[in-house]
Amino acid sequence: MHKSGLLPELTPRHREAFVGYLFILPTYIGFTIFILYPLIESVRISFQEFSLLRGSTYIGFDNYAQMFADGRLRIAYINTVIFTLFAVFFNAGIGLILAVMLNRRLPVLMRNLYRSIFFFPVLIAHTYIAVIWRFLYQQDTGVINYYLGLFGVDAIPWLSNAHWAMAAIIILDVWKNTGFAMLVFLAGLQSIPNEYYEAAQLDGANERQLFFRITIPLLSPTIFFILVIFMIGALQVFDTIIVLTQGGPGDATRSVVLYVYEIAFRTFNMGYAAAVSMTLFAIILVLTALQFWISRRWVHYE
């Protein structure tokens, strides 16, 4: 019988359990300190008037009540929702179009090259991309306005006009992230067996019918996954905005997470920041659950 010096003398079943707990111990220490405890603590802080210097006092639901009167928070939520709707729609839509086109009869080399090109921005930090695009978006000296000018478009105030600034952030986000949607959609498309298409073609189906009757239903779990992932990510948009516009002009591009960051770490109003972050958390949970619920009507699992 093998006797390990590490382990006490135990029955085999107890020994297996002992090793199991030992192996998950590092993860659970980290989980407890950096996820579970902060989550509970965050709820507690959200009921406090918090001050780094004077200590904190319990104030019940005041922080939550304060949110209803906070016009800037309302704007931040509206901005976040607008950004999320557009970013999810264009990231998923363009990603799907690119994937469908790459899945057509293409030389392998071309497919792999284009797939790599579309995907590469996903790997670059939002920060660096925002730094580059800040120059591209300049009104008088920017490359984008120069080319639009060739088509007779007047110089667009990308970063100084409220509406254009939001558009600028959405465009940048799609440029960076649609490659991820493309990659996942392409893998999904390639896993659809060819026989389905061949059978339908024998029955005289045209290309549009093939797409809407076969591709979309069989791809629906992938589409659903992409919609959920992109929605959760978009609701937490931060990096791009803080570099590109700092939430401006005015509050035009201030997202909820940027607002939480500012009240927590610039004005150190931790209690209120915690309360706001709890509402965002609740909204993300509800929207995700809602998507799962709606998905039962349209997502096909084989």
Binding site: S4, R15, A17, V19, G20, F23, I24, P26, T27, G30, F31, I33, F34, I35, Y37, P38, L39, E41, S42, I45, I94, L98, R104, R105, L106, Y114, S116, I117, F118, F120, L123, I124, H126, T127, Y128, I129, V131, I132, R134, F135, L136, Y146, W175, L183, V184, A187, Q190, Q236, I242, V257, V260, Y261, F265, M270, A274, S277, M278, F281, I284, L285
Partner: protein, 295 residues
């Protein structure tokens, strides 16, 4: 994925051997769209590179020269000579990224193995609890973590970023899926030879887990190398900051006054990513697709 691609292509070849299909207008249309999209993706990067090599007084030149016309390599030295301690930033980023990546490989492979192959009371509940934490956004936990780090005196210390990064629910999930797919016979044989659980893990499971460990390493490395939010919260002195922070500040300091130098700095920050991507792209794409589809 490579396999499905090969078979799909094999079928295309077979049918074209019978009757070569004519290239349709639709094919030309999609070539055109794909090419335009590829150009749009590459343009900002091409502009970044060519601007980084342009003399400062020409950086705003319009129409932009997409290929470098001159080679002002001194732009690449400027970040090192500016008020931003570029070398320190690079080392700080590398230190944090390597520590986090190694830490996750350690914690995630152990926990993944336990959840996949060992039986103990409460296992499934503990796993679900961990998976549920994937739903908790970072901005919810950041305030208590900040206060904790402040009490520990770890503000402006890389440990404030490394410690929370040492575990990952996603990583545990990834490793668990991998260990679950291993054939039971391997472990039965080891048991017969008298190997205990620790030895089965170290000598059988771990040596075979290379692909899963590489996947986790690539994903974690890239995410940590690019992270901005945590460093922004915790690190505030010049010599402690990470590269993304430094480059964002470099832009701020020089305003839009000197794009060439800023672009040289950004290029230097992106080139490692590009090199790793080109070297490992098959791997990276497969890994991300797989984890994405199963996540």
């Amino acid at each position: 994925m490579a396999q499905t691609e090969a078979t799909a292509f094999g079928q295309a070849k077979q049918s074209s051997a019978k009757r070569r299909k004519p290239i349709k207008a639709a094919d030309i249309f999609s070539y055109a769209i794909l090419t335009i999209a590829a150009i749009l993706v590459l343009m900002p990067l091409a502009w970044m590179f060519s601007t980084s090599l342009r003399p400062t007084h020409e950086s705003f030149q319009l129409p932009p020269a997409w290929l470098p016309t001159k080679f002002s390599w001194e732009n690449y030295l400027a970040p090192f000579e500016s008020s931003v301690p570029f070398v320190d930033l690079f080392i700080n980023s590398m230190r944090i990224t390597v520590a986090v990546t190694l830490g996750q490989l350690f914690t995630c492979s152990l926990a993944g193995y336990a959840f996949a192959r060992l039986r103990f009371p409460g296992r499934d509940l503990l796993f679900l609890l961990l998976l549920g934490s994937l739903m908790v956004p970072f901005q919810v936990t950041i305030i208590p973590i900040f206060l904790l780090m402040r009490d520990l005196g770890l503000i402006d210390n890389p440990l404030a970023i490394i410690l929370p990064g040492l575990i990952s629910a996603f990583g545990v999930f990834l490793m668990r899926q991998f260990f679950k797919q291993m054939p039971q016979e391997l472990f039965d044989a080891a048991r017969v030879d008298g190997a205990g659980h620790v030895r089965s893990f170290l000598q059988i499971a771990l040596p075979l887990a290379g692909p899963a460990m590489a996947t986790l390493a690539i994903i974690t490395f890239n995410a940590t190398w690019n992270a901005y939010f945590l460093p922004l919260v915790f690190l505030n002195s010049w010599h402690k900051m990470t590269l993304p922070q430094g480059i964002a500040l470099l832009t701020g300091y020089m305003g839009s006054g000197n794009p060439s130098v800023v672009m040289a700095a950004v290029t230097m920050a992106i080139v490692p990513v590009l090199v790793v991507f080109i070297a490992l792209q098959r791997w990276i794409i497969e890994a991300l697709t797989r984890s994405g589809l199963k996540g």
